[in-house]
């Protein structure tokens, strides 16, 4: 099967997104079992996440926030999986199935947004460092190294725990530009910002290495000789050829961001209650674990499946796009 990246001179002058190259690519992808498995699960969960509010509205799925006194047993303990409640209830009488499905919204949204943010920043830094080289490269890489010395989970915890509603004034005290006030409140936005901020350094090295390799390719040299400006080189030649590796890295890093989101939720510093977050569900369920293990097992399985799906997806993409990933 033809490999689509940077093959021969005439083809590479156009960008990768050319119809004639996509068909064999897709055929290769859909033949890859890992890609199918991972991609299938991702699509399924994404659809469920998108449809969740509609499903609840149409009463196909219950409300995730409804605390039903009757959904607890006689001593006020959660119900296990049974006919009425397929995955049981939690300690407040809420339907676990509904919460898990709605929780997918939170995890997928935060995970994807964080991944996008990390990718954008990571690519920007990697391209700038790799392309321009010299002092800029040195400076940017040193900064990235600094960020990488901090274990991501610790940094994420440190940052997320600061989000307690305090208002930071980005303007000097004398100037009352209150639109420059930032309120650090807990929520999906501050969460994905924190996770994205923590994850971008991991992408830089890979991107930069690829950019360095691409810089030396004949067609890039040729374009330069022909008088193309730096910007044109970057946007027309380098970036499009980065696409494969970016896609693979993006898929794998989504797995990471979702794990981080679950971890932060578990520690109680993710999205605030009563929002259904898988990590928080596990944490809530711990107190009832020996009596109602489903409260912990179910969201855990959900996390595993989602993260696994993204990892498989990335693995499949990597196989097909034959991108070499070195740490």
């Amino acid at each position: 099967m033809p490999k689509p990246t940077g093959i021969s001179l005439p083809m590479a002058r156009k960008s990768v997104n050319c119809g004639c190259m996509l068909k064999p690519l897709f055929r290769a992808l859909f033949a890859n079992r890992l890609f199918l498995a991972g991609g299938g699960i991702v699509v399924l969960f994404a659809l469920l996440a998108l449809a969740a509010p509609a499903l609840s509205h149409a009463h196909i799925l219950r409300e995730p926030f409804k605390q039903d006194q009757k959904a607890l047993d006689t001593e006020g303990m959660p119900l296990g999986p049974e006919r009425g409640y397929w995955l049981g209830t939690d300690n407040l009488g809420r339907d676990v199935l509904a919460r898990v499905v709605h929780g997918a919204r939170v995890s997928l949204t935060v995970g994807t947004a964080a991944m996008v943010m990390a990718t954008v920043i990571g690519v920007a830094v990697g391209v700038l460092a790799g392309f321009y080289g010299g002092k800029l490269d040195l400076g940017l890489m040193r900064f990235t190294e600094m960020m990488m010395t901090i274990p991501p989970i610790l940094l994420a915890i440190a940052l997320a725990s600061l989000m307690d509603g305090k208002i930071i004034h980005l303007h000097p005290a004398s100037v009352h530009w209150h639109f420059l006030d930032v309120e650090l409140r807990r929520g999906m936005v501050s969460l994905f910002l924190v996770i994205g901020f923590v994850c971008w350094p991991g992408m830089v090295r890979v991107i930069r290495a690829q950019v360095l390799a691409l810089k030396e390719r004949e067609y890039v040299q040729a374009a330069r000789v022909l008088g193309a400006s730096n910007l044109r080189l970057i946007f027309r030649h380098i970036m499009p050829n980065l696409l494969p590796i970016v896609i693979v890295t993006a898929a794998m890093s989504t797995a990471n961001t979702i794990l981080l989101e679950a971890g932060l939720g578990y520690l109680g510093i993710g999205v605030p209650p009563p929002a259904p977050s898988w990590g928080a569900m596990i944490s809530d369920g711990q107190a009832y674990f020996t009596l109602s293990p489903h409260m912990v097992i179910v969201p855990g399985v959900a996390i595993c499946l989602t993260v696994l799906a993204f990892n498989l997806l990335g693995q499949g993409l990597q196989d097909v796009l034959d991108v070499q990933q070195k740490r």
Binding site: T149, I150, I153, L154, I157, S161, L162, Q315
Partner: protein
């Protein structure tokens, strides 16, 4: 000392300073009046003033930053807001536990990863190879806190094969180490596989085969050692990161390590401890990078030969 090493050392220190600055700036956005949090709710204004002076709280941020550098240079990571214990002491008391846990975990997963990696490299494309790949991916997809709880419940509580929690004996580390091992074993198996596969293809190995050496000799004497080099690099970095806090595992098994310290400090908003743990991990990582770099140059015959 060779110039190269000095250069690396210098940049390592700079990196650490940069990390310290980053952390300091981020956490100077601390909620509430820090002095009150330290002194306690019943403190008199005089005590509050004393605390402010002691921690330089009424100074502008750049001045406080310089003070912080000075502190770090002396090895003083500050005092916990909650217990007033020196952070450095808290970390050092807990280091043995975390270190023992990590060491046990590494041994466990290497015991699994090395044979798996070598064999899958030799029998590339087989069902065994594919199976290991899938297992590795599954291992990386498990949330640590969940896996820890599952293992604790099944093997510790229900089956009684291992102690449930605490650190009363070495045996108490086995289950937590196993948790970490499950997470990383597959990944390292794949790393070794990739590394071995590359090496097995090189001219160097082909030459050894041509010379008539047995397969085992080829595998172990030539390929393996070379394949291990990049793996050691990554292992070095992973260990340092692990030491920084195997937060979830330690917390679930109630082990008195650095991870539990970090988690507790989050709940108490104990900023000096949070900062201290981060600085400690950062130092470990930088040190590990340095060490790996030095070792790399010594053991990699190709680089040695270049000199």
């Amino acid at each position: 000392m060779p110039l190269r090493l000095l250069n690396r050392l210098f940049w390592s220190v700079v990196t650490l300073l940069g990390t310290a600055t980053l952390i300091f700036l981020l956490t100077s956005v601390v909620p509430g009046d820090v002095a009150r949090i330290i002194a306690g709710p019943k403190a008199t204004p005089e005590v509050l003033q004393q605390v402010r002076q002691r921690y330089h709280l009424d100074q502008p941020v750049p001045v406080r930053l310089i003070h912080y550098y000075g502190q770090l240079a002396r090895g003083d990571l500050g005092h916990s807001f909650v217990t007033d214990q020196p952070v450095a002491q808290a970390i050092l008391t807990r280091l043995p536990c975390t270190a023992a846990l990590c060491a046990t975990a590494v041994v466990m997963w290497m015991l699994v990863a090395i044979p798996a990696g070598v064999l899958t490299a030799k029998y590339r494309g087989s069902w065994f190879d594919r199976a290991i790949l899938v297992l590795a991916t599954i291992g990386l997809s498990l949330p640590a806190f969940w896996l820890a709880r599952m293992l604790q419940y099944s093997m510790g509580y229900k089956l009684g094969w291992f102690p449930v929690a605490g650190f009363r004996s070495f045996g108490h580390l086995l289950l937590p180490a196993a948790t970490l091992a499950v997470l990383y074993a597959g990944y390292y198996a794949r790393l070794i596989h990739t590394s071995m596969a590359e090496v097995l293809d090189t001219a160097y190995v082909r030459a050894a085969r041509a010379k008539g050496q047995s397969e085992t000799a080829v595998l172990f004497r030539h390929a393996f050692r070379n394949a291990l080099i990049p793996v050691v690099t990554i292992l070095g970095m992973d260990i340092a990161a692990l030491l920084g806090g195997v937060l979830f595992t330690e917390s679930v098994f109630a082990l008195p390590g650095i991870g539990t310290l970090a988690v507790q400090s989050v709940f108490n908003l104990d900023v000096p401890v949070i900062m201290g743990t981060v600085m400690f991990s950062a130092t470990m990582i930088v040190a590990a990078n340095l060490l790996v770099d030095v070792l790399y140059r010594r053991i990699d015959p190709r680089i040695k030969a270049a000199h």
